[in-house]
Amino acid sequence: MADAETQREAVLDALDNVAERLAEEKEYLTDLDSAIGDADHGANMERGFGKAADKRDEFAEMEPNEVVKNVGTTLISNVGGASGPLYGGSIMFASQELEGGITAETSVAFAEAYLDKVKDRGGAQVGAKTMVDALVPAVHTYKKSIEQDDLPPLEALAKAVDAAERGVAFTVPIKAMKGRASFLDWRSVGHQDPGATSTLFILEELLETAEEYLDGEVDRDARAEDAVGRAE
């Protein structure tokens, strides 16, 4: 396990990467949300993660789990609406799993706690056209890759990102059952869920950051083929 200082640096870099990515994707997320929501997801996510990234100096002396917790509380204060509790509250809650430092084992516990809290708070199951559709495959794949397949965390994370990507694709052809989009009923079919999409962007940036810290690069094409089972 890397020392606490390196872990904190990794968390802060991940935060920067996520904030930057969400700022880049603001318009795209807004467009997705305009179709089936109230068109504020892009701005809300950019603002929330932007505020968290601005606190880099404030976070500079904290333990890694404390940084994660404070990212959560910053999102709660700044994202607004239901996304504040869903993204920020869940990160804050799950940060407890990282108290002993960030390892393969605690990262699985973090991911599971985050997923549980999102499901519990939002009341959505898989297939409701929400962020849960990206999260469930990602978290399940990550856990299985680490715990059963004994894969290194970087590879496990790469597989999780692929799983999330397919989860996002799955939200397109299904009808929304939760959240504001559900009031559109059948009109929601054919649109990609913005929450699942921003979840994928966050995971992709975690993978980017992990590649820097865990010495390695995953061949994305090979990975994608493997993920959809076309390699054979």
Binding site: I76, G81, F93, G123, R180, S182
Partner: protein, 332 residues
């Protein structure tokens, strides 16, 4: 659309400052949109707090004071307050006896209160929550899973606040709040839409001769659009839906509320109350007390809601107990 404001983004902040200036017994928590009783936390007492979007004045902060609320968090207009501010409110009002959060059933409100309760629990505060869902008009709405929480919430504030003032513990105060939720029903209607400061124009279109039945308190759609009717016909429609859902028996006692949506004169609310009482009388239901006024508004919307609360001896005692707040005063 003309409005008496300085700038849309400053509405909540300036309203709260003005409110504290008018009611120096209230205090604003630094750097937040939370108001609390000036003497909070009140020693030896369970705290009762609430909160939600602004635009419903005198809800929520108008019910701060002796015998009702200890804390009230104001979100932006029609937007939930954030969980960190709700948490600060809980911390600031807890005297060690625990805190009851009265939450109206909107997804944003419920999720933010849930998160705040978790944050407060991490700090060792005992928190309970009741979710008010008195609106019989719709099962799912634009902002809700299940029924919406509307004007019946004021009865919850009154009864839970009185129970806490009488020395009830957190369990007893919560039980009273739940009893009110179980026994209160409401339905509303609008003659016009409302105008939010940010948008500056009506949130929905309603024709000159149309009304919206089953309206929510954010201008969200109701159950049906109808041609304008007389006050008696409208009152009959609202009251019958409320009574059918409440399943009252002849001889039962109720407290009623005719609530104005913000843009309707009191004279018209009294006309509604006249018909409401005559319907109850015809059905052999006894009104123990009748409230008429603007208790939970929707900015400048014209319209009203009718609430009926089934009462027993316990609720009558709590409703009759003294309360001293900007929005409601009850003397012995």
């Amino acid at each position: 659309m003309k409005k008496l404001i300085n700038e849309p983004g400053a509405v909540v902040d300036e309203m709260l400052d003005g409110m504290v200036a008018a009611h120096p017994e209230l205090r604003r928590l630094d750097g937040t949109n939370v108001l609390v009783r000036g003497d909070a936390p009140v020693d030896g007492k369970v705290a009762v707090v609430s909160g939600g979007g602004s635009g419903h004045e005198p809800t929520h902060a108008g019910y701060l004071g002796e015998g009702m609320l200890d804390g009230a968090a104001a979100g932006e207009v029609f937007t939930s307050p954030t969980a960190d501010q709700l948490n600060e409110m809980i911390q600031a009002t807890d005297a060690g006896e625990g805190v009851l959060c009265v939450v109206k059933n909107y997804e944003g409100d419920v999720m933010n209160f849930d998160t705040a309760a978790e944050m407060a629990a991490m700090e060792g505060v005992e928190v309970e929550q009741v979710v008010v869902n008195d609106d019989v008009a719709v099962e799912d709405s634009l902002y809700t899973s299940g029924r919406r929480g509307v004007a019946g919430t004021i009865f919850v504030h009154k009864c839970a606040g009185a129970k806490a003032a009488a020395g009830g513990d957190l369990e007893a105060v919560t039980a009273v709040a739940e009893k009110v939720v179980d026994n209160v029903r409401t339905m509303g209607m609008a003659l016009t839409s409302c105008v939010t400061p940010e948008k500056g124009e009506p949130t929905f279109d309603l024709g000159e001769d149309e009304i919206e039945l089953g309206i929510g308190i954010h201008g969200e759609p109701g159950t049906e659009r109808a041609d304008i009717m007389s006050a008696d016909e409208i009152t009959e429609h609202l009251t019958e839906n409320v009574l059918d859902d409440l399943e009252l028996d002849e001889g039962e006692e109720v407290v009623t509320m005719v609530n104005g949506m913000g843009g309707t004169p009191l004279s018209e609310l009294y006309i509604v109350n006249r018909k409401l009482q005559s319907i109850l009388d015809d059905r052999g239901i006894e009104t123990w007390d009748a409230w008429v006024g603007d208790y939970m508004t929707s900015l400048d919307m014209m319209g009203c809601s009718v609430s009926v609360l089934r009462v027993d001896d316990e609720l009558k005692e709590l409703l009759g107990a003294p309360a001293e707040t900007p929005g409601l005063t009850v003397t012995e």
